[in-house]
């Protein structure tokens, strides 16, 4: 077992860090306040390879491991949590299209998504199907060489500004096995977008509702086979959970770095904050928990890379643990800033707002516990 980064991973991380420091961090506060979706920076990110990290090489991706991707996303999220989180969703879409699309889908979209010329959205959640995603109601009815989509999706990241939608819709009976996945042109006739949601965080990416009204989708846009949609949606989310957890780790690291600097400068009671042992110990705990979260995320990524049978459980544990622990680290770091932590001139309150949603989306942390406990209680199951 080797816990050290290899030469490539160090080089990837160095480059991602430089990109985050120069292109993301100086703009993150403005993007947040003005709710700007930085498509020009996403283009640049695409040119450098960030838009298709684990997409197969044959279709323009880099074919990297999930572990490599996590190492890279962690650095990016230190510069801007919300932009990086969107980039991770885009990566998930790029991977799904390239891995499960037929020749026509690949021909039309795979390279564009891999290069970031085209942006993607992942459309699973519905107004009445959130945690219970398998109860989704959007339908895809076969009509000749097309499917016709009807229904609505809610809280879709990037919606209205993206080009390709991966949509989970019902082609069969109730439950997960009746669901299929489609790659859909975001500008298709019959698609309408709701207003941009006014959110607590993740402000530099739009979140919208999408309504499908008799949207005709060529049959060849089906991903994998009919009835396999839920399975591949969950496969996408295994990696997605590692990514979101990673964004929490990177943000918490940045919050910790800032708190450390502040403690070395700020003086009260005639001493630097860094000289109070109560605060030193807080910092020690934050650092310890951060490393634990990071290692858990990397372990899950490695399980996914190796095709471990319990990869899904490890991804769920990593997502639950890292997003909770890192949110608390951001909160503690804000606390160490005193009143300044609450003021928007400093980034601490943004870190908190941006990482809050990581405990809710891509499966809430309660749903993660569902997945984990189901596995722990399974009959005759081996120890994890």
């Amino acid at each position: 077992m080797d816990f050290e980064l290899n030469e490539d991973q160090i080089a990837f991380a160095d480059m991602a860090r430089a990109f985050a420091q120069n292109e993301l961090e100086p703009n993150a506060a403005e993007w947040d306040q003005e709710a700007i979706f930085p498509t020009d920076v996403l283009q640049k990110a695409g040119e450098l390879g960030f838009c298709a990290l684990y997409t197969p090489e044959e279709v323009g991706g880099l074919g990297l491991s999930r572990l490599d991707a996590s190492i890279i996303f962690e650095q990016l999220s230190m510069g801007c949590t919300s932009t990086t989180a969107y980039i991770t969703i885009h990566n998930m879409v790029s991977w799904m299209v390239a891995s499960f699309g037929g020749p026509a889908v690949i021909e039309q979209w795979a390279e564009g998504l891999a290069s970031g010329q085209l942006l993607g959205s992942y459309c699973l959640t519905e107004p009445n199907a959130g945690s219970d995603a398998a109860s989704l109601k959007t339908t895809a009815r076969r009509d000749g060489d097309h499917y016709v989509l009807n229904g609505s999706k809610i809280f879709i990241s990037g919606a209205g500004s993206t080009d390709v939608l991966v949509v989970m819709a019902r082609t069969g009976g109730e439950g997960a096995s009746g669901i299929s996945a489609f790659a859909v042109d975001a500008k298709s006739e019959g698609i309408s977008y709701g207003r941009k949601e006014d959110k607590m965080g993740w402000n530099c990416q739009p979140t919208r509702m999408i309504t499908f009204e008799d949207v005709r989708v060529p049959a060849e846009n089906l991903l994998a086979q009919e009835g396999e949609g839920f399975k591949i949606a969950m496969k996408g989310l295994d990696g997605g959970r590692i990514n979101i957890a990673t964004c929490s780790v990177g943000t918490a690291q940045q919050a910790l770095n800032k708190a450390r600097e502040y403690m070395l400068e700020r003086k009260q009671f005639g001493k630097r904050l860094a000289d109070f042992q109560a605060l030193q110990f807080r910092l020690a705990d934050m650092q310890t928990e951060l490393v634990a979260a990071r290692q858990m995320v990397r372990l899950a990524a490695s399980k996914l890379d190796k095709g471990h049978p319990d990869a899904t459980t490890y991804c769920a544990m990593a997502k639950r643990f890292a997003t909770d622990v890192c949110y608390n680290i951001c909160d503690e770091a804000l606390q160490l800033y005193g009143g300044n932590g609450y003021i928007k001139e400093y980034p601490m309150e943004r870190y908190l707002r941006d990482t809050r949603v990581h405990r809710i989306l891509e499966g809430t942390n309660e749903v993660m516990r569902l997945i984990i406990s189901r596995r722990v209680l399974a009959d005759g199951a081996a120890e994890l």
Binding site: E7, D8, A11, F12, D14, M15, A18, F19, E47, L48, G49, F50, L53, L62, L64, I72
Partner: protein, 252 residues
């Protein structure tokens, strides 16, 4: 046209430099190292010459312990074609570097050699000049613009009084200033490809150079800590202090 670029491994510019407690040197233990920023600009310029069709091959050379291969790989990821490492135990001083580079130039016969004007660790600003002297080649230092035209290269130099443009006969030596270009990021695919590019390792003995010490490092001290400021109550007091305490104003 072949372009040779010399690159150096130095402490990363983001790192807050610490001096060893015994004052023998800067503390490099567990410190992030990087490509010297001026060398990065040199690589970028060479790669741009190649992209413009002016250069046919870009060769990077670095001198130092094995770890400096990391910086060669960085240069290869930025677009250089192949690398040469000249293996030494420690970082040799400028004249030794210039002598080693001179041998590489004799072997490789580049038309243009680009170096950083200085490295941000020792700030010597002399290797390019020494190399020019050893090889008896024309040099354009502190370049903010480089244009190859036929068998000449026009180099715009940042000098105290403004800008000076020289036409040098090729082969020539150029050292880069900060404003020459803005280096790109190495893309992830190029970082991966860099691993497959050739990297040759040589020793000073292979090149027939004997390393000699011409200087001895006596002591390294950190800059004085900045003192807290004081508030002055009037312009007169300020002028008085500037004259009599800081001694930055004279006369009256």
């Amino acid at each position: 046209m072949k372009v040779l670029v010399a690159v150096k491994r130095v402490i990363d510019y983001n790192v807050k430099v610490r001096v060893k407690s015994d004052h023998t040197d800067v503390d490099l233990a567990n410190v992030k190292m990087a490509l010297n920023p001026f060398c990065e600009i040199a690589v970028e310029e060479a790669v741009r010459l190649k992209e413009a069709g002016t250069a046919s091959e870009v060769v990077v050379v670095s001198i130092g312990p094995k770890a400096c291969q990391e910086q060669i790989r960085t240069a290869l990821a930025l677009g250089a074609d192949r690398g040469i490492q000249i293996e030494t135990d420690t970082m040799p001083e400028s004249l030794n570097v210039a002598k080693l580079l001179a041998k590489v130039v004799e072997a490789e016969q580049p038309q243009l050699v680009i170096l950083g004007k200085q490295s941000i660790d020792a700030d010597n600003n002399q290797t390019g000049q020494m190399l020019g002297a050893l090889l008896d080649l024309p040099q354009g230092t502190f370049a903010s613009d480089v244009k190859v035209a036929g068998d000449k290269v026009n180099v715009t130099r940042e000098v105290d009084g403004g800008l000076q443009t020289l036409a040098l006969n090729l082969p020539a030596i150029v050292t880069t200033d900060l404003r020459l270009n803005e280096p790109r990021y190495a893309s992830l695919p190029n970082i991966m490809k860099a691993k497959k590019k050739p990297l040759e390792v040589k020793t000073p003995t292979d090149l027939g150079v004997e390393l000699k010490s011409h200087t001895r490092l006596l002591n390294v001290t950190p800059p004085a800590e900045r003192q807290a400021g004081i508030r002055v109550s009037s312009v007169d007091e300020l002028v008085d202090k500037l004259k009599n305490e800081a001694k930055v104003l004279r006369g009256g």
